[in-house]
C-alpha cells in the first residue's frame, strides 16, 4: 500500500539565483552603485555602445564593466582601452550570466571605487531575461538590421527592461525597418517604455543615452548620500 500527497512549494524555481541577486542589489545600494544589465541578440551593438559610452562619459564617473561571452575575451580587450576596470566573464557554453558569476567577478574590485557598473550580458534575447543579476535596470538593445516585430517575438525582455535602445539607426535608410513599428510593438508589451535611438558609429543619440545614465546615477547618488547623512547623524 502506498499513498500520495501534495506538498505545497511556495518558492521561485530560480530561488538560489534570486537570493544571490538580492544580496548583490543590497551591496550595490550600500556602495551607491548604479548597476545596469545590457541585453540584446548577438551583434546588436552592446559593446559598441559601451565603447562610445566609455569614450564620452564624464571622466570623473567611476565606471566598471563586466562583459559576458560564451568564448573569447575580445570584448574585454575592446573595452579595456578606455582605462576603466573591465573583466571578461567567459561562460564556456552557458547562454546567460547568473548571479553567481557576477558575485565571483566582483570579488576582484573595491566597490567603493565604482559609481556605475555595466553588465554586458551574453548575446541572447531570451535566456538572460530570466536571471536577475541584482541590477537596478535591464536595458534591451535592438538594431535596425533585425526586425521591427522583435518586441512581440521576444516579449519577456522588452517587458522586463526599463529602457529600449534602438541601435544602428544610421542604417535606417538601407533596411526595411520601421522605427515607429518597433516602438509601437515595444510599447504594446511594455506600455510607457522609455526608448532612445542611437548610432554608435555615427555618434547619434549618445547625448540622450548619456543624459539617461546621468539621471539614473543622480537618483542612486541622492539615495546614497541621504543614507550616509542619516548614518552619520546617528
Amino acid at each position: 500500500m502506498s499513498s500520495t500527497e501534495l506538498l505545497p512549494l511556495n518558492s521561485k524555481v530560480l530561488s538560489e539565483n534570486q537570493h544571490i541577486a538580492e544580496e548583490l542589489r543590497e551591496r550595490f545600494r550600500v556602495h551607491g552603485i548604479l548597476c545596469l544589465n545590457l541585453i540584446s541578440s548577438p551583434g546588436s551593438g552592446k559593446t559598441a555602445l559601451l565603447e562610445r559610452t566609455l569614450a564620452s562619459i564624464d571622466p570623473a564617473t567611476r565606471v566598471a564593466v563586466l562583459t559576458g561571452d560564451i568564448q573569447t575575451d575580445n570584448d574585454a580587450k575592446r573595452l579595456a582601452r578606455f582605462g576603466f576596470p573591465v573583466q571578461q566573464i567567459t561562460t564556456g557554453g552557458t547562454c546567460h550570466l547568473d548571479g553567481r558569476m557576477i558575485e565571483r567577478h566582483l570579488a576582484a574590485w573595491n566597490l567603493d571605487e565604482i559609481d556605475l557598473l555595466f553588465i554586458e550580458n551574453v548575446g541572447n534575447l531570451v535566456c538572460p531575461s530570466s536571471y536577475d543579476l541584482g541590477e537596478a535596470s535591464k536595458i534591451v538593445l535592438l538594431s535596425v538590421t533585425e526586425g521591427d516585430d522583435k518586441p512581440l517575438k521576444y516579449p519577456s525582455i522588452f517587458f522586463k527592461s526599463d529602457l529600449f535602445v534602438l541601435t544602428k539607426i544610421d542604417l535606417l535608410p538601407y533596411v526595411p525597418f520601421s522605427a515607429e513599428a518597433a516602438e509601437a510593438n515595444a510599447r504594446k508589451v511594455h506600455p510607457g517604455m522609455e526608448i532612445i535611438h542611437a548610432s554608435s558609429t555615427a555618434e547619434h543619440g549618445l547625448d540622450a543615452w548619456l543624459a539617461w545614465l546621468k539621471r539614473r546615477m543622480a537618483r542612486v547618488q541622492m539615495a546614497f548620500q541621504q543614507e550616509s547623512l542619516v548614518q552619520s547623524g546617528n
Binding site: 499513498s3 506538498l7 539565483n17 530570466s130
Partner: protein, 123 residues
C-alpha cells in the same frame, strides 16, 4: 536554450524538499510559468525528461500551468488578464495600469508517494 539550467534547478529543489521527507518518492512537480517568463514549456519538459531518464526518478513529470500577463488598475484596483496587448482597464477604461503578473517561474507543488509501511512502523 536555458531550459536545461531551469530543469536542473527544478531537480535540485526536489532533492532539497525530499530531505524533509526521506521515504517519499517524487511523482510530479507543479509549476506556474508566466507567458512573459521566456520559458518554452515543451523545451523545459524535454530537458527535464532527459536529465531524469535512467535515474530512480525517471517517472517524475512536470505539470506546467501557464499564467497570462496580468495588470492592475491604479484607479479601480481591479486586476485583469492582458488580451491582445490591451493594457487598458476593462472595468473603468483607465489607461493607468501596472503589471502584476505574467513573468513568474514558480513552484506550485510536489506530489509524492509514500509506502504505508514506511509511515507506520511494522508490528
Amino acid at each position: 536554450m536555458h531550459e536545461l539550467s531551469i530543469a536542473e534547478s527544478i531537480l535540485e529543489a526536489v532533492r532539497k524538499e525530499l530531505r524533509a521527507h526521506p521515504n517519499a518518492r517524487p511523482k510530479r512537480v507543479g509549476l506556474r510559468i508566466g507567458e512573459l517568463a521566456a520559458i518554452d514549456s515543451d523545451s523545459l519538459t524535454f530537458c527535464f525528461e532527459s536529465i531524469v531518464s535512467g535515474t530512480d526518478w525517471a517517472s517524475l513529470t512536470l505539470d506546467i500551468k501557464r499564467c497570462p500577463p496580468l495588470r492592475v488598475c491604479a484607479i479601480c484596483n481591479s486586476e485583469f488578464a492582458v488580451i491582445d496587448y490591451n493594457s487598458i482597464c476593462p472595468d473603468c477604461a483607465c489607461p493607468n495600469t501596472t503589471p502584476s503578473g505574467g513573468d513568474e517561474l514558480d513552484f506550485d507543488y510536489l506530489e509524492v508517494e509514500t509506502d504505508e509501511l514506511d509511515r507506520t512502523p511494522a508490528a
